[in-house]
């Protein structure tokens, strides 16, 4: 009985849903605040993300006539579920997780479900902006996913395991992946921005071009879920990269703090990147993905294999 309760606690509270949601809201605040300060603005008070979430949850939920009600309800729930499932395999500060050989692949797959859901949301919500945004998110998927997978695969090859927990643990014996695979780490971060559809790669939801892309017709609870998914995905993505490239973290107090600091550093990098550049066009992103990121990740992989990693 206590085992079941413990499992439920882990799934729902820590390091499950509640913890991730809190991290996500905190990250959203940091992100908004940092980018605001960098742009000469003030940014919102700390409770603004929570207030926004509650407000959206309470708002009327409408869909246009002709939109597929069922699909449009399932999609945000499915993407939130996928991201939360992915999170169960990503160790936070050295926490025990149900790990197995190959869970890295599962996590990467689960984390790409929101992108596919974006594409479907584009088709099923009968808006032209959504259709264009959906197409773009699929194109973007093909641009970032391959370099992302290759960069993460590099970390797996280096550490001789396809389990995230294993990779994180190995690094404490050898050295951080960042030091051994700087190029792979860089590719992973850039591809993560593409995966999260954050500026300057916010192409599928570029508001001055296609309103909000696939989310144009969503409102109320569904939109709140989309937003929550977006932020949780950012946090999980940062945790994942910390585990794979920045040495993960131990259970001791200082290493928990260190884990948090590393994740925050990554998220701050995302915030800074979002204010530094103009949004790319989709063809420019595809070029970047296939002509720069993929070769760079491949090079890193070859160097790793040649150096006799693993």
């Amino acid at each position: 009985m206590s085992g079941v309760l413990w499992a439920l606690f882990r799934l729902l509270v820590f390091p499950g849903f509640v913890f991730l949601a809190c991290c996500a809201l905190a990250f959203q605040w940091v992100d908004r605040r940092v980018s605001a300060r960098l742009q000469g603005r003030f940014g919102p008070p700390w409770f603004q993300p929570l207030a926004d979430l509650i407000k959206l949850l309470a708002k009327e939920d409408t869909l246009p006539v002709g939109a597929d009600e069922l699909v449009c309800t399932v999609l945000p729930i499915a993407s939130l579920a996928a991201v939360l499932s992915a999170a169960t395999y990503v160790p936070v500060a050295g926490q025990e997780v149900p790990s197995f050989e190959g869970d890295l692949i599962v996590v990467v797959f689960l984390l790409s479900i929101p992108t596919l859901a974006y594409f479907l949301a584009g088709w099923f919500s009968v808006s032209i902006y959504s259709v264009v945004g959906g197409n773009r998110s699929l194109l973007q998927y093909f641009a970032y996913e391959v370099p992302f997978l290759m960069a993460l695969g590099g970390a797996a090859v280096l550490n001789g395991s396809w389990s995230i927990a294993q990779i994180a643990a190995r690094q404490s014996q050898t050295a951080w992946g960042l030091l051994l695979q700087p190029l792979g780490f860089l590719v992973a971060v850039i591809a993560l921005i593409g995966k999260l559809k954050r500026p300057p790669f916010d192409i599928p939801k570029a508001k001055t071009e296609i309103s909000a892309g696939p989310l144009t017709e969503f409102s109320g609870r569904k939109l709140a879920l989309w937003y929550l998914t977006r932020d949780i995905e950012a946090v999980v993505g940062a945790f994942l990269l910390v585990d794979l490239f920045l040495g993960g973290g131990g259970v001791a107090l200082w290493s928990v703090v260190a884990f948090g600091a590393k994740a925050l550093f990554l998220l701050l990098a995302l915030s800074v990147a979002s204010v530094l550049y103009a949004r790319l066009r989709i063809d420019q992103l595809v070029n970047l993905g296939w002509k720069v990121l993929a070769p760079a990740a491949l090079l890193q992989l070859l160097v790793t294999v040649w150096m006799g990693g693993g």
Partner: protein, 526 residues
């Protein structure tokens, strides 16, 4: 004088008909031509003299006839005028000779009921499709506002059919409400995938009938009405109008007023250019530059507010002078703040010139060749970015510009990037002018008394607004109300070239092109 040579050539080319000319106020030459000679004259202007910049066409009701005035710019103002009887108001189009005549002919057609035979696109420009009130600017019609658009309540203006047929052609509506452009312009883009293959434009959503309203108000009231045409370049509108009315009155404006007007004009140009820089940056997803540009713009807006009392509508220029003055201490404070502003602006210029992603999104976009610019009669920074060296501050100096040292900024790229460069450099040039103005400002009065009644006559008043050539035609019948006020704002010229700029680009580039054009729909609609 060039116009004399042109008039002589016109006389030679149209033998047996009466071609008369006279030089009017503000250096404009008026040439009266019979109806059948007009096309011939327009062709001659282009072929023999290279004159192809049609500023606008003014149509006006003069009793039994409709009079058309074709205002050309030949390095000096040249207006061809012709009459058509009201009962048979037909004239051949000149759009095949001057493509840029298209919108002016459409406007003349709907406002005065002139039929332009052979016009390729005779839809109404500003009025609703189901307008039943008659030609609003014909004087013998009943009050058009009383009739109004009757069907509007029953059926909405033909809304585009929104089709979602994946993989095929789609029509994407942009505007009249859309995050890309905060102004009411409707654009239907036909796209295949991400590529724009066709587009169609509709303006008129904020048409306020200002030209007709002007005929119902006296000259002083019109100053404040015309200022409200635009929320950005409001000062240049009053200045252009007052300059015309003062010419009709034969009024000598004190030199200090000329300097103060020019100072406001340059401040206005700075804040207008920064505004569009911000809009462009926002449109290409570069929010940081948007924030910086609009933050620094506040410095200039504060100065304008201190000077005139208003942030948007300044009511600075009045007939006979200006309504504000500048003391020594304030002048020094302004110069100090402009120095600070220049430092900020240099940082901004550095970022724009060296950030690759900004150029990736603006280069080779919305390209207009010099040929196209001249064909559409595009003006201002848009024209200068395609290598057309034209600036009325230098070519037809008004206010205090005769005394100033001015460098006209041109570029040769013809794309959004070149337009951005031109505007950024013009901000620095305007700062330079502001300093000259403050330092050289003569003393004395800032206004003279102007009579309320204006002697009969007509005037064409041109200035260089932030977006390019602004032209007013004012005709007085001797009363205290104008008989006709015609306004042509620079945006209208850019709109005509929009179709060429949007063809065969990606949807993602549409905001960049529109942001780079600096459109002001309130100006275009009036």
């Amino acid at each position: 004088m060039k116009s004399e040579a042109i008039v002589a050539a016109l006389r030679q080319a149209c033998p047996g008909v009466n071609v008369t000319s006279r030089s009017g106020l503000l250096g404009e030459t008026f040439v009266v031509l019979p109806l059948q000679c007009l096309r011939h004259a327009v062709r001659l202007l282009f072929e023999q003299f290279g004159v192809r910049h049609l500023s606008t066409i003014t149509a006006q009701d003069v009793g039994d006839n409709i009079e058309l005035l074709y205002h050309f710019w030949a390095g000096e103002g040249l207006t061809l005028r012709t009459m058509l009887p009201k009962s048979e108001a037909h004239i051949d189009t000149i759009t095949d000779l001057v493509t840029g005549a298209s919108f002016y002919e459409r406007e003349a057609a709907e406002m005065l009921g002139v039929v332009f035979d052979g016009h390729p696109d005779p839809r109404p420009l500003l009025l609703p499709e189901d307008w039943t009130g008659g030609a609003p600017l014909r004087s013998n019609e009943t009050d058009p506002t009383a009739a109004g658009p009757t069907h509007l309540e029953q059926q909405a203006i033909s809304e585009p059919e929104v089709q979602v047929t994946p993989g095929e052609r789609m029509i994407i509506p942009i505007g009249p409400q859309h995050p890309l452009l905060k102004e009411p312009l409707s654009y239907l883009l036909t796209v295949e995938g991400e590529r724009v293959v066709d587009s169609s434009l509709r303006i008129g959503y904020v048409h306020r009938g200002i030209e007709r309203l002007c005929q119902q108000r006296n000259y002083v009231q019109n100053t404040y009405l015309l200022e409200r045409i635009c929320g950005i370049c409001s000062h240049i509108h009053t200045t252009t109008y007052c300059q015309g009315v003062e010419a009709l009155l034969g009024l000598q404006v004190p030199p200090r007023a000329h300097y103060l007007r020019a100072l406001m004009c340059e401040l206005e140009r700075i804040h207008s250019h920064l505004l569009v820089l911000g809009v462009l940056a926002e449109n290409i997803g570069f929010t940081t530059i948007f924030m910086y540009a609009w933050r620094d713009r506040e410095i200039v807006l504060d100065i304008m507010e201190e000077l005139s009392g208003g942030r948007v509508s300044h009511a600075a220029t009045v007939i006979g002078g200006v309504q504000f003055d500048l003391d020594q201490q304030h002048a020094r404070s302004i110069l100090t703040r402009l120095d600070d502003f220049e430092k900020q602006m240099e940082t901004l210029r550095n970022v724009i010139y060296h950030e690759r992603s900004f150029q990736m999104r603006t280069r080779d976009l919305g390209y207009l060749s010099m040929e196209q610019v001249q064909d559409y009669c595009v003006v201002g920074p848009m024209a200068r970015a395609s290598g057309v060296d034209v600036d009325l501050r230098r070519d037809a100096p008004y206010a205090a510009y005769r005394d100033l040292h001015l460098r006209v900024v041109t570029a040769h790229g013809g794309d959004v990037w070149a337009r951005t460069q031109v505007r950024v450099e013009e901000v620095f040039e305007s700062l330079h002018l502001c300093r000259q103005l403050v330092e050289q400002m003569p003393g004395g009065a800032v206004t003279v008394r102007a009579p309320r009644r204006v002697p009969a006559g007509e005037v064409v008043s041109r200035t260089e607004a932030p977006r390019g050539e602004l032209i007013y035609y004012i005709r007085s019948d001797g009363s205290d109300k104008p008989a006709r006020v015609k306004v042509r704002t620079p945006t209208i010229t850019s709109l005509m070239s929009l179709f060429d700029q949007l063809r065969d680009i990606s949807i993602a580039d549409v905001p960049a092109v529109i942001g780079g054009m600096d459109l002001c729909i309130a100006c275009a609609d009036r």
